[in-house]
Symmetry: C2
Subunit: 347 residues, 2 copies
């Protein structure tokens, strides 16, 4: 009988990390179809369809890893599972048009629970104007697994990749970061209190902003319209799912460049600032390594500075530099040190 | 704190069945994008991309539900996970071009185990000439979950749906059925023996054909070429994943027709015939309800009979009739009774 455990050589997946593992497993695969323009390694894959490019992105959300049903209402979870995938499509400067949703669930979930989940999925589909066109529903021995694939479209000359930033480009971000992470800390704290004493009423301190950023994030659909209207073509783009620092690392690695980030240029919401201090955390660490903010980080040619300078919601947080200059953070205190990317390690 | 178990009304998902559940959950969703041609309800969804249609299909494979690593080598599992999705694309008369693969796995899996899985995925990609363009790899608290999305292309006027069969059409199938199910019975028998006494050496009775049909099925890529070369446009098509009877029910329900199936027209391999008798099972029941054969069932206009009559591998197993005539099986013994679709109930 085949068995996965009785092999002589056994390398733990932890040794490679999520991105190292994907690189390792997919390195032998080539793109041979003329229509396959971009494969593994960006927010989405790109398929040539004549006049338009089709952009495809897929994500798997796992109970106990990506979400906790103790504090994630199923409706919010359904909404978020769509949004995180749409965010990847926007990060290619494309407009999402369709999604498929596959779900594996244990018999602990009722039809009513699933209705709530699909209500959230429907609300996201309505708001972002995407169609649910397919999927799969199956049972799972334990837990809830949600796999979403989003499909979008973009004009051939407007698709934006991760690997096209150039030294001298300005690094921009579409909004504040760190709040989703602090929302999660707050929810986790109340969960622990509740588990130790179920009579305690959870106190989320009316932190609707922080909790909302965690439980019901939005993708920056509006920015893709703004880019088009203002005639701005970012030189590269990525969305903030794992954390600003981690995304900057991806962008620099793929573009073979370095980056110089100004701490003062990283936008942090006052509520996030306050909550970080309350948790005795460094606000900038939360902002750079927190993740799940679903803002867009993009780079622009400096000649396009006028096009973004007066736009609301866009912050310039640094500059692309030659790879040899490394990836550095210039702190408010005037120090310069290496940026460290913790991101989210799932393994 | 939110909780999925403390609701007043609780309907077990078993009460609806897999297809009923999908229908129920997706009934409120509309297609609003002009490019969304076909949504939930066929083998794949169809997106209009100008000259060509893009066909999308997705499937989730769950350890303990769809596969058992006691007897599924990971390489075969990787191969099969791609093939079952490509089969859905072929069932739309389309050619698959790209796949995405998302995986959730527990820490019991080593890098070497994943390499085997991806080796199988790569072999399928090579053989069927599809590109792996994306995916997600994450951890799971327990077990292995594989979610594959396949993307294909077809000329606008050649796409074939499930809901376009007409009374008078002939029902064809591309090969023998029931063998994959009997291969599974054999593997399950040996697993039980092994579990009761690990010293017993598994005896698969050199049933390479049956075991191969279960562990390493192939999709009927060749038939799509044959259809094109012979100028044959099926009037409807579906692939055999859940079982012939179940697929005939889908096709009839969607096309609003009935069917008359000749038992003598359902091809059964001699090895399957023999093994069914050995297991004291009715061969025709295995053939009609077994599933996982990944043959194609398609209907043709009777005027196209000459185009298929002399083709190898195509069997005519019945006729589409008006809905009012029901869905019947004409047995070899001369009896006519209602066809029953057990299919695979995952819930």
């Amino acid at each position: 009988m085949a068995n996965t455990s009785d092999r002589s050589k056994r390398t733990d997946v932890n040794t490679l990390g999520e991105f190292g593992l994907i690189d390792h497993l997919t390195s032998g695969f080539e793109l041979r179809q003329p229509s396959s323009i971009k494969g593994v390694g960006d927010d989405g894959a790109v398929i040539d369809n004549g006049n338009m490019m089709t952009v495809v992105s897929t994500d798997m959300l796992v109970e106990g890893i990506h979400f906790d049903l103790m504090y994630s209402p199923l409706k919010h979870l359904g909404y978020k599972s769509i949004v995180v995938n749409l965010s990847d499509i926007y990060a290619m400067n494309a407009i999402p048009k369709q999604v498929t949703v596959s779900i594996a669930l244990s018999n602990r979930f009722s039809v009513e629970a699933l209705e709530e989940l699909y209500d959230g999925i429907k609300r996201a589909c309505d708001y972002y104007k995407v169609d649910l066109i397919g999927g799969d529903t199956t049972s799972s021995p334990k837990g809830l697994y949600i796999s979403v694939t989003a499909i979008g479209q973009v004009e051939k000359d407007r698709v934006v990749y991760r690997n096209t930033a150039k030294a001298g480009d300005l690094i921009c971000i579409t909004g504040n970061v760190g709040a989703a992470y602090l929302g999660l800390q707050l929810l986790e704290r109340e969960k622990q209190l509740y588990l130790s004493n179920p009579d305690i009423k959870p106190d989320l301190e009316e932190q609707d902003f922080l909790v909302g950023r965690q439980l019901k994030p939005e993708a920056r659909k509006d920015m893709i319209d703004v880019f088009k209207k203002s005639g701005l073509q970012p030189t590269s783009m990525i969305d903030v799912s794992d954390g600003v620092a981690s995304e900057i690392f991806h962008l620099c690695k793929q573009s073979k460049v370095g980056a110089f980030i100004e701490e003062s240029g990283v936008p942090i919401h006052p509520d996030a600032q306050m909550m970080a201090l309350k948790f005795q955390l460094d606000p900038i660490t939360c902002a750079l390594n927190g993740g799940e903010d679903y803002e867009l980080i993009f780079t622009i040619d400096p000649k396009d500075l006028d096009k973004v300078k007066y736009l609301p919601d866009i912050y310039i947080m640094g500059e692309i530099v030659p790879a040899s200059d490394g990836i550095k953070l210039h702190t408010k205190g005037g120090n310069i040190h290496d940026l460290s990317a913790q991101g989210w390690k799932h393994f």
